[in-house]
Symmetry: C2
Subunit: 347 residues, 2 copies
Amino acid sequence: MTRVHIVGAGLIGASLGIGLTAEGWDVTIDDLDPETARLARALGAGSELGQEQPDVIIVAAPPSAAPEVVARALTTWPDAVVTDVASVKSSIAKAAHETGQGHRYVGSHPMAGREISGSLAAQGDLFKARPWVICRNGATDDAVARVQAIAQALQADVVFMEAVAHDAAVARVSHAPQVAASAVAAALGTLHPDDIALAGQGLRDVTRIAASQPGMWADIARLNRHNIVATLDHIIGDLEDVREADDIGEAVTDLIERGRLEVARIPGKHGGAPRDWAGVTVIVPDKPGHLVRLLQDAAAVDVNVEDIGIEHSPRQSVGLTTLYVLPGSAQRLVDALESNNWEVVRS
Amino acid sequence: MTRVHIVGAGLIGASLGIGLTAEGWDVTIDDLDPETARLARALGAGSELGQEQPDVIIVAAPPSAAPEVVARALTTWPDAVVTDVASVKSSIAKAAHETGQGHRYVGSHPMAGREISGSLAAQGDLFKARPWVICRNGATDDAVARVQAIAQALQADVVFMEAVAHDAAVARVSHAPQVAASAVAAALGTLHPDDIALAGQGLRDVTRIAASQPGMWADIARLNRHNIVATLDHIIGDLEDVREADDIGEAVTDLIERGRLEVARIPGKHGGAPRDWAGVTVIVPDKPGHLVRLLQDAAAVDVNVEDIGIEHSPRQSVGLTTLYVLPGSAQRLVDALESNNWEVVRS
C-alpha cells in the first residue's frame, strides 16, 4: 500500500486527498495553516501524518512556494518520491535537482479546477477526464510510475512532457491568451454602456476567460515570465504589423489566414479539430423545455450533439441555438428539425 | 405600399429581398453581375426594376464599394430614401452628405450572417432577433421611419446610434477582438502538435473567431482603420506594460482586474451580464441521448438553462457539461440532478 502525504490543503490538495482516500489509498494531509489542515481532514482528505514514512509526497502549495517546499520535502523524506501540482514546471524541477535528489522528483500539472478555490470546494472527482501532465525531468522509472499511478487512480488523462516544453506550451495555450483576452476586455473601457450593447458572441467568446479571478496568475506570470514574454512579443509583433501596415486590409487578411492555420491545429474532441463539426442553427423561444425538445428531436434521428452554442437576443424572447454535429449528420438533423417545425437557419 | 429596390444580391441583399417579399413588400433587386441578380430573383428575392420609382434603396454592396454606390443611388433616385448594410458607417455617411442629399441617407448595420456568404445561403429570417443599428446622421424623420419599418418587418432588434459612435464601438467589440484573437492563434505556430494538446476550453473560446474566413475583413479594416488602430494601440499598450513590468505578477493582476470590470459590462441575455449565471457542471458519458436526459431533468424542476458549455476530454469517452442557470435555481438543479444519479461537480 502506497502511503501518500499531501503538503497543502487548498482546493487541489484537499481534492487529491478526498479522491485518493475514496480509492482506498493511505493518505495524510497537512498545511502551513493548522485550521486549513483540520478542515481538509474533516472533509475526508486524509489523516494527520504520524511516525510512518510516506512513499510519495504531493506538494500542493501555491506556485511561488512550490520550488522551496519541493526541495525541503526531498530533504525531509530521503526515501520518498516527491511531486507537485503547480502549473509551471521548470523552476521547480531546477530547485529539485539542486538538492542532488532530482531523480526522486517528478513534476505534475493536473489541469483542473480553474474557477474554484479553497478546500471547501474540494472534491475527489476534480481530476476525472482532465489532462494531468507528468514531467519526468530525469526521475527514475519507479518514481514516474508512482506518480502516474496516482493520476490514474483519479481517472485523469496522463500526458508526458518535458518541463521546458510544458512551460513553453502553457504560455502559448493558456498564460498569454489570458493576458490578451484581458487586454481586449480592458480596451472596452472607453465605451458607453449603450455602445457595448453591440457586442456579439464573438466578443463574449474572446473575453470569457477575462472574467476569471486573478487568483494565482501573479505567481504563474512570475514563474513563467520568460515564456510569457516571448509569446507576448509574438502577439505584439503581429498587432504592430497590422497597426503600421501601408495597407491594413492586406495585413489583417494575412494575420487572419495565419491564425486560421493554427486554430485548425487546436485539438477538440478526441484529438480531432472542433472546426470539423457542422453547425445547425435554430431559432428557439427562450423558455424552459424548448432546448430539451430540440435535443430530443436530434437524438430521435440518432445524431450526437458535440457542442451547443446559445446566443440570446438582448431584447427579445427568442434566441439562436446552434447544435454542432459531425458533418455527415448535419443534413439528417436539419431534415428532422424542419419536419418537427423548428425554424432552422442554414449557416 | 413602399417600393424597395435592393442594389447588390449577395447574402445580405438576397436575404433582405426574400424576407421583405415574404412580408408582402414590393421588392426589386439588382446586382453588378447579371447572373447573381437572376439567381437572387429566382430565389424569390424580388423582381427586376421597371419604370416605377422605388421609395427606398438598400445598398447591399461590399463595404469598399458602398460609399460610391450610396452616393450614386442618391443622385439616380432623387426622391428615394437610401440606406446600406455595411458594417462601417462614417465613411458612407460622409459620401452621402457630400452629394448634398444627406437628409435622404440613413445608415444601417444589420448584425447578421457572419459565417455565411453568397445568395444561395440567403434566407428571409436572417435578421430575426439580431441587432440592426440605424445611424440617423441628419436624415429626416420620414427617412429614418422608412428604414426602421424595414428592420421591423424583418423582426430585427433596432438600435439607434450615430455613425461615429457606431464605428468606434464595433472596432472595440468586433474588429480589434478579431485581430487580437487571430494574433493569439498565430502565436501557436511555434508549438509541436503534441504540445498544443494542452489547450483547454479557454484557448478554444479566445480563438473561436480566429477560425473565420477573412471574407470582408480587408474592406472593414480599411474603412475603419482609424478606430481599429486606436483600439490596437490600447491593447498593445497593455501587453507592453506586462512585457516590460519590473514585477510581471503585479502587472498581470492589474490587467486582469481591469479586464474583469469591462467584461462585467458586456451584455448577455436581455441586457444582463452573462456572468450573473451560476454554472452547474456534470460528468456525462459522450453518447447520444445523455444531454437530453440531463436537460429533461433540469426542465422537470422548472429550471431554465441559459447557456451550456461542453468540454470533451481529448482521450476519454466522458465529457464535462456545464449548465448555466440563474443563481437562485442552481441548488434546485444540483439537488434534482444528484437525485437522478448525475455526477455533479460543484464549482
